[in-house]
Structures are given as C-alpha cells and as structure tokens.
C-alpha cells in the first residue's frame, strides 16, 4: 500500500460556488470544480400532482440537463443516483404531500461531472432552506494505468484512466451514500479510493461552510 497517498490530503481542483443566483427557483446554486461547472435550481415545497402524491413525505424529482441535446438514458441513471442521495439527506417527512423539484444543468464537463452535480444539488437544497439531516458531497476518483488513484479528475484524466468511481459522502459520519463505478477494480483499490474520498470530503464540507458563511455575512448584518 502506498502510504504516501494516505499521508497527504488528496488533491482537488479549485472549487467555486454561488448560491441564490437565480431569481425564479426557490433555491439555486452553481458549483465549479476546475473547469467543470453545474447549475442547480430547486423548486418547492410546492403543489404535487395527485398521481405522484406520497401521503407521508415529499416527492422529489430530479431533472438533469446535458450541455448539448436532450437528456437520455445516461442522464436518467444519474438522476436516480442524485435523487436517492438527496432523499437520504432531506427530511422529506416534514413536507408530506408536496413536491420538490431539483434541476441540474450541466454548464461544462471537464471531468467529475456527477460529483459536481451532487455538490451543486446540496448547495441548492441548502439555499432553498429545505430541512436536511445532514449534508452530502460528491467525489470522483480514477485509477490511472499506473494504479495511482487521482481524486477530482479532469476529463482527460478520466479518459486515460482504467477505472472510475464516484461516491457521495455524508457530512455526519463520512460514510458512502452513493456509489457508481466503471471499470474493473480490486477490493483493495476500492477501499483506498473510499478512504481518499472520505478525506477529500472534509475539504469539500469546509468549502461548503466557508461559502455559506460568506453568503450570510453579505446579507445579514
């Protein structure tokens, strides 16, 4: 095991985030990781269609829009991942029989898109003031041909990798909420990647806190 990997904090690109940048949605955020950028908007709690009504909790819908063209099967699979992750964090029983809609617009994909979507989603949900039991963040890792694990890869690094993993990690216990992998991975590699992602998550949650603080310092004085 390469101990040096565990010693240092895993490298991530520079983050950027702006909340409440759209006027129409009830909550919005843009999240930037290097050149990857996603815009998220949240509507709700709003009126729900009778057919989708759930008597004891809110109905969450996630819509993912690619940069070019219309959403396809890949987007639908990602929507499922984001939706179920959000559902785990949201206290949706506090708003029964209502609808929550999360729209994720890809602005630019330069790797780690799903992770960036998760981060944008979390910030937008927070901005909308929806009750959550914890926060979550997304981290993508790739294993390159030398067996090195790289966190927050660029599109180029993703293409050159032999395996790709995206995890969602919660803020309370730093456990894995969501996992989506591609490529053949040994169990050892998986464990290393999870450990690294957990480390990286600290950094992202710190960034969340800083970002929200900045926002409140601006408005509530």
């Amino acid at each position: 095991m390469d101990l040096s990997v565990h010693g240092v904090s895993p490298a991530t690109r520079e983050f950027g985030c702006e909340q409440n940048l759209l006027s129409r949605p009830d909550g919005s955020a843009s999240f930037i990781q290097g050149n990857t950028s996603v815009l998220a908007g949240v509507y709700g709690p709003a009126e729900v269609k009778v057919s989708k009504e759930i008597y004891d909790r809110a109905t969450l819908e996630v819509v993912m829009q690619p940069k070019i063209g219309l959403p396809g099967v890949r987007e639908r699979a990602r929507e499922q991942c984001v939706r179920e992750t959000c559902e785990a964090a949201l206290l949706s029983t506090l708003h029964p029989r209502s609808s929550l809609t999360l729209i994720l617009q890809e602005v630019h994909d330069d790797g780690s898109l799903l992770a960036c979507c998760l981060n944008a989603a979390c910030m937008a949900l927070m901005d909308a003031g929806l009750p959550m039991s914890c926060l979550f963040c997304g981290i993508t890792c790739v294993i390159d041909t030398d067996g090195q694990i790289i966190t927050d890869p660029t599109l180029q690094q993703e293409k050159e990798s032999r395996a790709l993993m995206t995890f969602a990690i919660d803020s309370t216990d730093k456990r894995v909420l969501m996992s989506s992998t591609k490529g053949s991975i040994s169990i050892q590699e998986l464990q290393e990647a999870i450990a690294l992602s957990q480390k990286a998550s600290h950094r992202i949650f710190e960034f969340y806190r800083g970002s929200v603080s900045r926002r409140y310092s601006k408005t509530l004085k």
Partner: protein
C-alpha cells in the same frame, strides 16, 4: 448544551451540525438547562441537530433558532400573510399564499360575517389573514379575525396599491419591532405598507409614481447594508433619483 449553544450564537451553521449535551459534571451535579428549539433546529435523541443553514439566534432566556434565508413560504400557525383568493367553493375561499397547497378561508371568518351576511370577497382579491391551522398533516386554514372576532387590520384589501415579493429574510427585518427600514421609508413618503410573512409586501402611496419608487426601494434593500441604504434613501429624498 446551553453553553455549546451560546458559543455559536450569531455564527453560520449548516445542516448536520450537532449540539451534544455537556457531559454532566458529576462533582458539581448541576442539572443541564432546558433549551427550546425554534425553526431549523431538531431534537435527535439526546442531541440537537441543525437542519437548515443560517445564523444561530438566541432569545433569552433559552430560545434558539436558525435565521435562514429562504424564498419559499411554509405556513406557520399564527403568522399573518397576504393571500390571493383563487376560487370560491361552497362555504370557503381558496387562497394562494405561496405555500405548497392552497389555504382555505371560511366566509364566516371575517368580522361581522354570518351565514346570511356574507363578506364581499371576489376571486382575485387580496386578503390579509392569519393562519389558525398550519401543520404538515392538514390543509392550512386562514382567518381574517382575531380570537375576539375583530378584524384587527385583517380582511380584504381595498382598491389600488401594489403587491410584490421579497425574500422571507427581508420580510422579517421589515417586521422587526423597531425596523429601521420601515422608519426610513415612511420618512420619504407617507404610505400604507402591509407586510405578509409569506414574502409578499403591499404598498400604497399618494401617487402611482411614489408607490413604485417605494416598491423599488424595498426590493433593493434585500442586499444592502444599512449605510448603503441610508445613502440611497437620502438621494431619493433629495430628488436625485
């Protein structure tokens, strides 16, 4: 626990942040203080957990809540709001207050209304009303009378005036007991100002022009420090804008 709360007052907190009980000091045998959790805080077993992001506020002696900025209104019992009548069905009006479902308003819930003497309310009218029922399990219900049966400022709006939306945070600032913004505004033009906790504000001044100026000023207060605001108001008062 109380102490851990006090340490964090006026700080920005995020969902998932937890307050745990201080370990009971066996030697001193002091009982832990009680804490009343307001919006944004939830009990989770023995802990208290933050569920909304925002600034921790404290009202002595032991009330704590999270002051968060949000746009979507969620009805709360006792709050007064501005609603739009969208439908009449049987003996109730359906009122849009910006929440997830329409609130109901009985035609008997107006001052002096009886089964024979129905209030004159039309679809499209604005009403200023108070929630008597608002919880997650029920359809919210409004009334335009207080517990003594008096209108007490509530009821249907008259002609004229202008309705617009601001953030829920700004609304709370406007409704604070000694709101500087309201004081500054009324210094500019004499006006009628009705503020609903659902983020809707209704203004009426002497002329349409003045009404619009007031509305625009209020909207621009959203992201201004008090100094910026005072400077702006001064320029308006001087006729510069």
């Amino acid at each position: 626990m109380f102490n851990s709360f006090k340490e964090k007052i006026s700080e920005v907190l995020l969902p998932g942040d937890v307050f745990t009980f201080d370990l009971p000091d066996l030697a001193s045998n002091v009982k832990p203080e009680k804490v009343i959790c307001g919006p944004g805080l939830r009990r989770d077993g023995d802990d208290v957990r933050v569920c909304k992001c925002g600034i921790l506020r404290h009202k002595p002696p032991n009330v704590f809540w999270i002051d968060s900025q949000q746009k979507r209104y969620v009805p709360v019992k006792g709050e007064t709001v501005i609603g739009v009548v969208t439908a009449k069905s049987g003996d109730i009006f359906k009122v849009d207050v910006g929440g997830s479902e329409l609130a109901s308003l009985s035609y008997l819930a107006f001052e002096g209304a009886t089964k024979r003497n129905r209030p004159n309310v039309q679809v499209g009218d604005l009403v200023f009303a108070q929630f008597i029922i608002a919880n997650k399990d029920m359809e919210p219900e409004l009334v335009c009378i207080d517990s003594c049966g008096r209108a007490n400022g509530m009821g249907v709006f008259g002609e004229g005036g202008f309705l617009f939306r601001v953030s829920l945070g700004l609304v709370r600032r406007l409704l604070a007991p000694q709101s500087e913004i309201v004081a500054d505004l009324s210094g500019l033009f004499p006006c009628e100002l009705v503020v609903g906790l659902n983020g809707r504000v209704w203004v009426k001044a002497k002329s349409t022009q003045q009404t619009l100026i007031l509305a625009n000023l209020l909207e621009s207060c959203e992201n201004m420090t008090s100094n910026q605001r005072q400077a702006l108001f001064k320029r308006v008062a001087d006729g510069a804008l």
